[in-house]
Amino acid sequence: MSEDGLTTIGQEFKGERGDLIPILQRAQDLYGYLRPDAIRMISRWLKISENEIFGVATFFAQFRFHPPGQHHIKICLGTACHVKGGEQILTIATHRLGVGAGETTADGKYDLDRVACLGCCALAPVVAFDDKIYSQMSVLKIQRILDGQKID
């Protein structure tokens, strides 16, 4: 692993206990997930046991412990999205990709996640495909996105 990346992160922080979560966030930005060897290094540096770091990291929804897929599909299931049919959009995505929420397809191409709220509730239901947010989705539009077609 490139220790350089983590070393650069090291220079941004003083190494205090309160820096743990920001450091984990930066490490995840760097590798796409929290690699066990990265956690080991952070543990030695901050003098917090790996066990405890896992305890903190698994508490928060943001942290991942497996390599991410190439594309990240997030189906929003905030309240507004839920009442406007977000659940059915997730059903289709689950079925088409053959994985459940929180999993990655076998070919490593797609991550599928359900998220609590993307904050675009007035345009519900919404789906994020990588950084692009699609609003006013429908069961038909998600099928078109999964078919690789432009929907607008």
Partner: protein
């Protein structure tokens, strides 16, 4: 920078703002909040840039935050020299050329997609933007700049009296500022509604050489986005509020604890903090006074419970975000054991207005016990969705019907306060929105999420949704919350599957009260509210699921079937193509078959059938 130089800077900013109002070159404003971007504002902007390049025109494009009526996004405003700003709605990339041609080619105001203008008085019979039905009943105090100024240009904020409230507080003693906030009557806008001044007084009166101020922007309530919009649209208002609060409580270090899911808001905050630092509004001896203060951003890593004060503090300290017992309250012993004040984004964003215009002015809005205005995210099945700000005491009916335009199908319920709130039926529509009235009927004000649902939404399913949410977000510390919420979800699942009996409803109610009483923090103490309130006001809908095994809203999957009506099906095969499981089969021009064993009830066939004028209605869902 001292007081004189900020005044000079403000005068320059005012001049720049006025220049902009009568600019010789046209201005084009794009609503580029997260919601605008989700609706395609980035493509709209590219189309505008392309248009200007192609025609060789000189005009400036300004990205502004969300002005509120999200259902009109993407919004594009055009301001020609000597004319007021004119707003166009639902402007996608392909509409741009047509709208701009009107102005640039024909020298007239394009009439299509017109929303309203921002000038005073009449303009060619075009309505004023703020006279639109969604905006007219609103009182915009905290949102006064959102959508109007460039949030990344501090001069825009300065020109509109920015940082005057803070300067005013610097000229007063902390006691005087505290007294002003007390007289204004403002209460915590995060949901609980605790009087802001009282919390502050406790903190200030606790002996310490280090106090902290935390801005709580961990807007975790699903279905609410007020804080995001405010930070995206007017970040300096929140930061100015932090200066006022910090000065009053005597804090020297501040944090903004913001969700990592809000990248644009974080970007705008970072930029605004850098601008403050450059102007000497952060750091040592601000504006030549003996007040010193700095602000750091902490990104929340995704845990709803971190909206709770002690959990939030634990997470800033690098620990699992689990609440602890109170007392001691954070105002006495919070972050690193020091007195700490945690205020919501909206509370802070309101402060500059109170300081600038006076406590009595602010207290003039609202009711006796709930003063001022409150922002709400009005979403769900209402016609006009978006972000609104209304004086407290307004009725639910005014918000849902006058502002929101009502629902397309018959109104069923409104959920206020998100997963901690309650679900209110039609009989409560004339209830005034204030802290007391909402609490009395088993709902709460909450942070401002208002989700309206119609006859197509199953109340049991919604209660199951909320319970599922709080069950996942329970930190696990208290047994009644950790285990109780899980059992409540299981009972609600049984009801939705048609497998429950009447005794289950009693169990649900009993369990709800146990969870409420046996949990340490607000999450557990309020988690059963959605289930309990819907059980109270919509019992008949629960009974239908239990006794008749029917879902009246035709939502609960295990109680509905999809059928093809042979007499209506033309055999167009469109449903065959979209069915992801191959459950629908049949040759062209003959009624199709739907294999129930393969159907995952994803609704695709139903949707596509309704798009088709010929075969429409051939597929039905029934309970």
């Amino acid at each position: 920078m001292d007081k004189k130089s900020i005044e000079r800077r403000r005068q320059q900013a005012v001049a720049k703002w006025e220049e902009l109002q009568k600019s010789p070159i046209p201005f084009i404003y794009i609503g580029a909040g997260s919601c605008g971007l989700a609706a395609g504002a980035a493509d709209t902007q590219s189309a505008v840039e392309e248009y200007l390049r192609r025609k060789g025109l000189n005009a400036r494009i300004v990205q502004v935050g969300c002005i509120g009526p999200c259902y009109l996004e993407p919004l594009m405003d055009v301001q020609m020299p000597g004319q007021p700003r004119i707003s166009y709605s639902n402007v996608t990339a392909k509409d741009v050329a047509y709208i701009l041609n009107g102005f640039f080619e024909n020298g007239e105001i394009t009439k299509s997609r017109l929303a309203g203008h921002f000038g005073d008085g009449d303009l060619d019979g075009i309505p004023r933007f703020f006279d639109l039905p969604m905006l007219k009943p609103q009182v915009r105090i905290v949102l006064r700049n959102c959508g109007l100024i460039d949030p990344e240009d501090v001069d825009h904020y300065l020109a509109r009296d920015g940082y005057k409230g803070f300067e005013k507080s610097l000229s007063m003693t902390w006691r005087e500022v505290l007294d002003t906030v007390k007289r204004s009557g403002i209460r915590g806008r995060g949901g609980a509604g605790f009087p802001t001044w009282r919390k502050w007084a406790t903190c200030r009166e606790t002996e310490s050489d280090q106090r902290y101020l935390i801005c709580n922007a961990d807007e975790g309530d699903p279905g609410a986005f007020m804080n995001r919009s405010l930070i995206e649209g007017d970040p300096h208002a929140v930061l100015e509020g932090m200066l006022i609060a910090a000065y009053t409580i005597g804090a020297s270090q501040g944090y903004v604890y913001i969700r990592a899911e809000y990248p644009l808001a974080i970007k705008r905050l970072k930029k605004a903090i850098a601008q403050m630092r450059e102007m000497g509004l952060l750091g040592q001896n601000i504006l030549g006074s003996d007040f010193s203060f700095d602000i750091k951003i902490k990104q929340g890593a995704g845990a709803f419970v971190c909206g709770e004060e002690t959990a939030l503090i634990a997470s800033i300290e690098g620990k699992r975000g689990m609440p602890r017992t109170r007392p001691p309250f954070p105002a006495i012993a919070g972050l690193k054991g020091q007195p700490t004040i945690i205020n919501n984004v909206e509370t802070l964003g309101t402060l500059p207005n109170i300081l600038r215009n006076g406590a009595e002015w602010y207290a003039g809005y609202g009711t006796d016990t709930s003063k001022g205005t409150k922002t709400f995210s009005l979403v769900g099945k209402v016609r006009r969705t978006g972000l609104i700000e209304v004086p407290l005491g307004i009725t639910l009916r005014e918000v849902i019907y006058d502002i929101g335009g009502g629902t397309q199908k018959p109104f069923k319920a409104v959920q206020s306060g998100g997963p901690s709130g309650g679900c209110l039926s039609e009989e409560f529509l004339d209830l005034p929105i204030d802290y007391e009235h909402l609490a009395e009927v088993g709902a709460i004000m909450g942070s401002g999420g208002l989700i309206v649902v119609d006859s197509d939404t199953c109340i049991v399913d919604m209660a199951k949704y909320f319970m599922g949410f709080t069950q996942k977000e329970s930190c696990g510390k208290c047994v009644p919350c950790r285990v109780g919420t899980r059992h409540m979800v299981e009972i609600l699942e049984k009801v939705c599957d048609g497998k429950a009996d009447l005794s289950d409803l009693d169990k649900l109610e009993k369990l709800g009260h146990t969870v409420k009483n046996g949990s340490l923090c607000g999450l557990g103490a309020t988690a059963p509210n959605p289930a309990l309130s819907s059980l109270k006001y919509f019992r008949s809908e629960f009974i239908s699921h239990v006794k008749d095994k029917r879902c009246p809203a035709v939502t609960c999957k295990n109680l509905v079937v999809y059928r093809v009506i042979a007499g209506k099906c033309t055999g167009c095969q469109r449903c065959v193509k979209v069915c992801p499981t191959g459950a629908i089969t049949g040759p062209r021009s003959e009624p199709h078959n739907l294999d129930q064993s393969k159907c995952i009830k994803c609704r695709s066939c139903y949707e596509i059938c309704r798009f088709d004028a010929i075969a429409g209605d051939a597929i039905i869902i029934e309970s």
